[in-house]
Amino acid sequence: MSANQEREKTGMSYVFALAGNQNSGKTTLFNQLTGSNQHVGNWPGVTVEQKTGTMIHHHHGKQAHIGLPSFGSRKPDTQTLPKEYTDVKIVDLPGIYSLSPYSMEEIVSRNFIVMDKPDVVINCVDATNLERNLYLTLQLLELGRPTVVALNMMDEVRHRGDTIDLVKMEQTLGVPVVAISARKGEGLDELVRRAMELADQKIYPRRLDICDGAAHKALHAIRHLIEPQAVAAGIRPRYVATKLFEGDEPLMEQLQLTPETRHIVDEILTAMEKELGMERAAVMADTRYRYIEKLLADCVTQGADVQGSASDRIDSVLTHRVLAIPVFLLMMLMVFYITFGPLGSFLADEFSALVQAGIDLVAAALLNWGVADWVRDLLVNGVLTGVGSVLSFMPTILILFLLLSILEDSGYMARAAFLMDKPLRKIGLNGRAFIPMMMGFGCTVPAVMSARSMNTQRDRRFTIMLTPFMSCGAKVPIYALFTRAFFGGNQVLVMSALYLIGVLMAVLAGLLLKRFAFHGDASPFLMELPKYRLPTARNVLRQLWDKGSDFLRRAFTVIFLATLVVWFLQSFTFSFKPAPDVQSSMLGSIAGLIAPLFIPAGFGSIEASTAVLTGIMAKESVVSTLAVLSGVDAQSAEMLSAIRGVFPSTLSAVSFLLFILLYMPCVAAFAAMRREMESGRVAFFTVLSQTGVAWLVATAVYQVGRLLGLG
């Protein structure tokens, strides 16, 4: 919905856009301004995340105690704002460094500001890193919407002894400049007040003349040339001229410039390039940066750099030539250990026990009330077990994301990507793919969700495709049972071999995907290494809440439905009569149908096929299914001989293990993949090809083994 439509719908209300660099504290500012009134969706037509929220007012909240002069002598309004203004919608634009047309995030941002005309653009700027941050500011000003610059992290600027002359900066830029600290909640009243003022009085920024000489002449000439087209399209001529100057292809197409006009523009620019000896995009970037250098020389006085050197000292250890990799591995091991080790397992088990106790309670109550058997079975084994299986993932997901958001907010995650980029690049990924890969050894669900930290959809999808090859924790009991039954004494060797085969398959798949599916458009790995900062509890908890509720909302439907379907399939026969045992149920019949498919792989029994099917529900079910179908207790000694009965030879057991290692992950993982890949089709294709690969590998191993006389 456009800002205009939004306004018409809600009467007197405003739309503010929040724009800024990555790492500028924009998310913190957004959370501060909107509280819990947030909505997460996608931008129309593209898969860039869009966050919107309703602004909460700060007039009665914390007052600004930032100790810096605010521009203008006007005292902050003590009276409340008119009632009709209470509705301000804030649209959080993606974190960007520029408004060039080479990334979805940048296109989405500029289109929103140009087309939807938000009442105010709040530009969040990292005041400790002004030179690069103001580069975006200058481009935002070109767009011509009422704009307020929020100088964030002013507490840090003050702490290191720098001073920024806000009055001078405001006079130079021609728009309000407000000192804030989003982390501490300082200066927000003033920011809101100034933004409201801009919106009420519709104050547009004046034109900034940032260029001189040949560049100025060229810009001026282009501006005159395209003015009619720009006006007709309702876009500011100044902005159009600047973008054409930079060779902006999408905008040229949008304006439907004639070949003649394009030609003249090109002539003007070619002449300028000759005169300046610099290519056109470089001229514009250089012009902006030179303007900023001059602005900063006028407005900023530097003190001793206390904070910066602390950050440098931390970094000299964390990215040290020798220490970096051991420290990194230790950190990752710790994250893994806390999430999946004793603490994580304890919480997960306790939580599962709690859920199970709840289910038992309900089951007992239903029995007491004399509810019909099939209804009880549906509610307990279908509905509640489904709910329970969704909930049982929660502790793991929350712990992992607690740790990951601490790493992300502290600035370490960028360093981890810096360290691991080289090896991962060989398989077509970048350094950021390491975390999802490693988490995959624990549980594919949070691993897939953690891929969201990657910048492009290509990288996310690519990483997610490889993650399931990391053998997840739920498969360990299967391996343990089989190694005991078939490889007494060689458990460690067999287990290690399986994990290694998984990794090797991921490398192989990566090489193939890089060659045939994801070639070309890898976004350049150009990443800011932000300063180390202490994460705030507020931000970490916020992210935890977002992840947790997101998982529940999205995954619930898929996992829940799948549980119901499986319950139905294993409880009824095809004539919809209650099935006396699993073999005669619909599930058993389907397993009987697909069993012949596995004859070439050496495990064509109905028991094995049923286990494969229930393994799609959850890998934990594989062992219990084999136990139930063999009529033995999974923990008993008879289990080993029962397994040997189902799998006639060691070779067929190996083949089965390889299939289990490589075939599609469970439905919970599939639900997460579908969500994070932003396409059910791609997710489905992924798990289908994984199953295909698993079948091929299992069959190849079995057949070759037989030829070698191992069967």
């Binding site: 002004l130 690069r132 940066y289 990215t319 990799i325 810096f418 350049p524 150009l526 990443m527 932000p530």
Partner: protein
């Protein structure tokens, strides 16, 4: 804009080297990204360090730290 073979690029710098950016090449998208991140002709950069495995590198410019791969750094001609 190609840099000729015997000219120094950002990828040739050693940790601790300071240099002035001379030319900025790369395909369209990379070229613009480099410029946007502040790697414009004339800017002074410090090669802070290389990653333990030799690639990528960390450079300091315009008051912040940026990491980029050697492959991309080769598109940036520098003067010592």
């Amino acid at each position: 804009m190609m840099t000729d073979a015997n000219k120094k690029t950002l990828a040739d710098l050693k940790p601790g080297d300071r240099a002035m950016v001379d030319t900025v090449g790369g395909n369209d998208a990379l070229h613009r990204r480099l410029l946007d991140m502040g790697l414009t002709p004339g800017v002074s950069v410090l090669l802070q360090k290389t990653a333990p495995m030799g690639d990528p590198v960390e450079i300091h410019l315009r008051g912040y730290a940026l990491t980029l791969r050697l492959d991309d750094a080769r598109n940036i001609g520098v003067r010592l």
